[in-house]
Amino acid sequence: AKSFDDVRCKCICPPYRNISGHIYNRNFTQKDCNCLHVVDPMPVPGNDVEAYCLLCECKYEERSTNTIRVTIIIFLSVVGALLLYMLFLLLVDPLIRKPDPLAQTLHNEEDSEDIQPQMSGDPARGNTVLERVEGAQQRWKKQVQEQRKTVFDRHKMLS
């Protein structure tokens, strides 16, 4: 089940006498992952092989390139989506919503906290799916603004 890219048998052999250290990286199964198989051009004569192999450390390792690829792609798409949405909210949204009186109140609700509920409560009560999403989005935006005010402006929390 493991693809070619996903397994390796890596042997690290330290310097020995006058032979410098070497790293061997082969594509063997776990069973064959030992010094005698992996170190192919054996750098030492036959009677030194055992001593040399005692020094080497062979490790069989697995990974999943698919997991890596999928994770990175998901990550990039989430970042991309967030960026796009942020730009949308920053640039496009105000243009569309200019005439909406609600947006107005949303921007200076500092002094109208007590009136807010009645006002923002209504759009959330819409009937079509679109209206509901709209309402939820409005509520969310208000919530984030509230958070932003608490954390970034008033420094009441998380500082």
Partner: protein, 803 residues
């Protein structure tokens, strides 16, 4: 009592569970509305909680009103009430289960829902942690170059299959190209270096900018480490949206960005926050946990354990961390479930295998080198260093955060982040020990120098030996090691300074890794020093007997580990959990004594400078209503000294049980800002009957005015069981016994405050009434206690901001 936040007393409740889904129009929108739906659960739970028992589950006269029994944002829950509610619910489920098979199945699924939830939390948090690990690794390496085999490979994975690595430069392979190499075609030369340097800084700034902008745009609550807030939430505070799904997404994404930008921060603390977000979101799938704030906090306790479990690959350590550091209320059932969830998460992470070596953490080590009793002396020195650094760090960081909070600096969070990132990148790049990520640095420092290693830190001189196996004797330091030591010393200085300004910026930032890095550097320096001392003084007084020339007597990696534990202990004041986490990281019981000696010294030294750890310090800085469960209240004041009203205050605002009109009640409620009112027999005989919450009172009166016929301003409000005799032509009375808490907690005026504080802590009270010989005298709220404690400690009592 509540003078800051009840201003928005009647505002909309923004629930953090707006399950918006375009496809799912069937989803439960109504539960997020300001008027929650009338659920039958709540109906009987209110009735039950008020002691009418299951025999009369529904009093037809007391039609329960939606919104009762919920809490406002930034308020503290009443644990007793919540737990009682849950027990009532459970009782009801059990009673019903005897009636039908469906109800029986429901009761069984209800009983196992806790375990299922734990399983889901473990799976989700483990998967997220794996994703964060992979993405952060890749993005960190992105600053330096790119893999030609596939852009999604990090440096290590790029060279994973390469057979062209050499023993000396084992992380270099042709598939991986630094930006300089890619552009200039050569990896040598000043131009390539400068190009790399510049691109490194640009990427770092870009990542940091992205992180702080996303946090600001989508979830301001996602910044910081999150542990202070989670501690406060677990103690009963409500911060709506803090554990919501936007916070989860934003924190996950920006955590990767922040870590990758090379800032001196770690991902361990935020992982706890991420795990708690997962738990909170998954709680919405189960009625039992969605509806009950206390039960939900049990799950959150377990989630904190899960967070640490995946952060360090230490399930037992995670559970102990949750128990020792984070949790407030931790029943034994939670212990077992936390353990289960922590294990599930660890196994999920292992199956994702983010590092490709079946380790859960980058800096996992497997030592078996022995240590000698004499070495406890340097270990204790490391403990002292850790304690000193921890205390200093807390003081400096809090001072800096206070500046940020109060001065103009706080107005430019994005600029601040960019500036710190720029400085970090500029200074960090030239020094290879600061350029690498914190976890890699720690891994390198923990590593023991076997013959197989070729890093600079292992640059010892070969002293003509043909050692077989890994038992290496101590060796004299070579030039490579000396260079490394200098670089490490500089790195230590830099890390110590930059971490102070980094922690608390408006990006997700954990403190574990930077603290451990500081400690590990210091420990490694001391370790190498000791090693050289031992090498050149084999026959010296202290080394004689255990440092023969052939034996491997000093392990610098162990010193690094002890140093890391000491610094982490100094900053967070963790004890048992710290030792267990380090024990699980190394997998050897034999190092528990050095670790414990260091952790203990560090805690004692740091405590001498100030008793609170970094999380408590931040809780206090922000004025959260957190009653520290670890510290004893030691002043000898009495309840009467703390209660409101004080001597000079106007008398306590009380309701009488059967002599006030609706108009009178409304006037009282409007004219005060208290969040609850005691109900007494009469103004003349203030014997306590019960306690009514402001919110419940308002909702009920509103509701009655809307629905119930004939309720006008002149209607009597009746809290007693039997309404008083009345003129037959008068308006019908409004009966509100149903919303009254018939069992308010009381203490006598002579109760010492230490006992009162204990009651508040152990039972999780929000308020407690004070009586004298059966007569109501006043009220003590959690905030009053915190203010009193602040006063005793000569701090400003007004720093306590929330209820």
């Amino acid at each position: 009592m509540s003078d800051f936040w009840t201003k928005s007393g009647r505002a909309v409740v923004f629930d953090d569970d707006d399950m918006v889904d375009i496809a799912g129009a069937t989803l439960d929108f109504s539960s997020t509305d300001d008027v929650p739906p009338l659920s039958s659960d709540m109906a009987w739970s209110r009735a039950g909680a008020n002691g009418t028992g299951p025999g009369s589950l529904m009093d037809p006269l007391e039609d329960p009103v939606p919104g009762l029994g919920t809490y406002e944002d930034f308020n503290t829950i009443d644990w007793v009430r919540e737990k009682s509610k849950d027990r009532d619910r459970h009782r009801e489920v059990r009673v019903r289960s005897r009636r039908s098979t469906a109800a029986l199945l429901h009761s069984i699924s209800d009983a196992f829902s806790g375990w299922l939830l734990m399983l889901l939390v473990g799976l989700m948090a483990g998967a997220l942690a794996g994703g964060i690990d992979i993405a952060a690794h890749w993005l960190t390496d992105m600053k330096e170059g790119i893999c030609l085999d596939g852009f999604w490979f990090s440096h290590e994975h790029c060279c994973w299959k390469s057979s062209e690595t050499t023993f000396k430069d084992r992380d270099r392979c042709p598939q991986w190209q630094t930006w300089g190499e890619l552009i200039t075609g050569t990896s040598e030369g000043a131009f390539s270096y400068i190009l790399n340097y510049l691109i490194y800084i640009v990427w770092a700034l870009f990542f940091a900018f992205l992180a702080v902008t996303l946090v600001r745009a989508f979830a301001p609550y996602a910044c910081g480490s999150g542990i202070p807030e989670i501690k406060t939430i677990l103690s009963g505070f409500i911060i709506r949206g803090y554990l919501g799904k936007w916070t989860l997404i934003t924190k996950t994404v920006t955590l990767v960005l922040a870590v990758s930008s090379g800032l001196s921060l770690g991902k361990e603390g935020p992982l706890v926050h991420v795990a708690c977000c997962c738990a909170n979101i998954l709680c919405h799938l189960f009625t039992k946990y969605r509806k009950n704030e206390a039960k939900r906090r049990e799950v959150l306790s377990a989630a904190a354990a899960v967070g640490v479990s995946v952060a360090f690959g230490a399930p037992i350590g995670g559970v102990l961390f949750s128990l020792e550091e984070v949790s407030y209320y931790f029943p034994l059932k939670t212990l077992w479930r936390s353990f289960f969830a922590a294990l599930v998460a660890a196994f999920t992470l292992r199956s994702i295998n983010p590092f490709g070596n079946s380790r859960l953490v980058l800096f996992y080590v497997e030592f078996h080198a022995p240590w000698h009793l004499v070495e406890l002396v340097p270990f204790i020195f490391l403990g002292i260093f850790g304690g000193l650094w921890g205390a200093l760090f807390i003081k400096a960081n809090i001072a800096w955060c206070r500046i940020r909070k109060t001065t103009r600096l706080g107005r430019y969070p994005i600029v601040e982040v960019l500036a710190v990132t720029a400085v970090t990148a500029l200074v960090a790049y030239p020094n290879s020990y600061t350029r690498m990520s914190g976890a890699e640095l720690i891994s390198e420092l923990f590593n023991d120098c076997s013959l197989l290693d070729s890093s600079q830190l292992c640059g010892y001189l070969q002293v003509g030996q043909t050692g077989i196996g890994n038992s290496l004797a101590d060796r004299p330091a070579g030039p490579g090691l000396f260079t490394a030591l200098w670089q490490l010393a500089l790195a230590l200085l830099f890390k110590m300074l930059i971490t102070v300004v980094t922690f608390g910026m408006k990006v997700p930032s954990g403190l574990f890794i930077p603290s451990m890095a500081v400690g590990a550097i210091a420990g490694r320096l001391l370790g190498v020093g000791m090693e050289q001392l031992a090498y050149y003084n084999h026959d010296g007084l202290i080394f004689k007997g255990w440092c023969t020339p052939e034996a491997d007597c000093i392990t610098p990696g162990l010193y690094a580990m002890v140093g890391a534990a000491a610094c982490l202990g100094g900053v967070t004041r963790m004890t048992v959990s710290l030792v267990v986490i380090m024990f699980e990281l190394t997998g050897g019981l034999e190092y528990i004594v050095p670790l414990m000696a260091a952790a203990m010294t560090s805690k004692w030294v740091a405590d001498a400078f100030g008793r609170e750890g970094i999380y408590e310090a931040h809780i206090r800085l922000n004025g959260y209503p957190f009653l520290e469960p670890k510290e004893e209240f030691e002043h000898s004041s009495l309840a009467v000294d703390v209660m409101r009203p004080r001597r000079s205050d106007p008398p306590l605002a009380v309701l009488t049980q059967d002599s006030m009109t609706v108009g009178g009640v409304e006037a009282l409620v409007e004219s005060t800002r208290y969040s609850g009112f005691p109900v007494v027999v009469s103004q003349e005989s203030p014997r306590l009957v019960g306690f009514v919450l402001r919110r419940d009172l308002l909702i009920s009166i509103d509701n009655a005015r809307k629905r119930q016929d004939g309720v006008v301003g002149a209607s009597l409000v009746v809290f007693s069981e039997h309404p008083p005799a009345q003129a037959p032509d008068g308006p019908p009375p409004l009966r509100l016994r149903g919303i009254m808490d018939l069992s308010p907690f009381t203490v006598t005026d002579h109760t010492p405050m230490d006992i009162t504080v204990d009651i508040f802590r152990k039972l999780g009270l929000r308020q407690c009434l004070v009586t004298h010989n059966g007569r109501l005298l006043g009220i003590i709220t959690k905030k009053d206690i915190l203010k009193h404690m602040a006063q005793i400690a000569n701090r400003d009592p007004d720093s306590i901001l929330f209820n």
